[in-house]
Symmetry: C2
Subunit: 83 residues, 2 copies
């Protein structure tokens, strides 16, 4: 079994109002050292296969087709043995 | 300058309907090897300090106070030099 850990983040230059709001909140709470906050999605997908090459192709395709919006988001992932 | 990479995920046993929906969609799209999908938040926070110990204490506190809901979520983070 494999565990895919997928990180989906906004491409550089894409506005991130949720991150900006969090940054402002942190400043207001006294964390003066906060320069910026960027938000993203983190996904863990358990896969039945043990074949890393096949899994990598499949995860890549899932990201393109469903998990990330390639107009504004980029993704990266790792695969590890699990469970 | 430091970059904090923060991962906020649901604690084990906490229902994740968004993850379940994604899993069902992936199955419906033909990815029969998908066993489960768990969703989480991924945050990147740039900090002005270069002091890793101070930054670590601060990030820990931010997670507890604002970024994670400790009733249902857990968090972990890494700190790296950046920019």
């Amino acid at each position: 079994m494999l565990l895919a850990k997928i990180y989906v983040t906004f491409k550089e230059g894409v506005p991130d109002p949720q991150g900006e709001t969090m940054g402002q909140s942190l400043l207001a709470m006294g964390y003066q050292g906060v320069l910026s906050v960027r938000t993203g999605k983190y996904l863990e997908i358990k896969l039945a296969t043990a074949d890393k090459d096949a899994a990598s192709r499949e995860v890549e395709e899932m990201c393109r087709r469903l998990l990330a919006n390639s107009v504004i988001e980029q993704y990266r992932y790792t695969l590890e043995e699990c469970c």
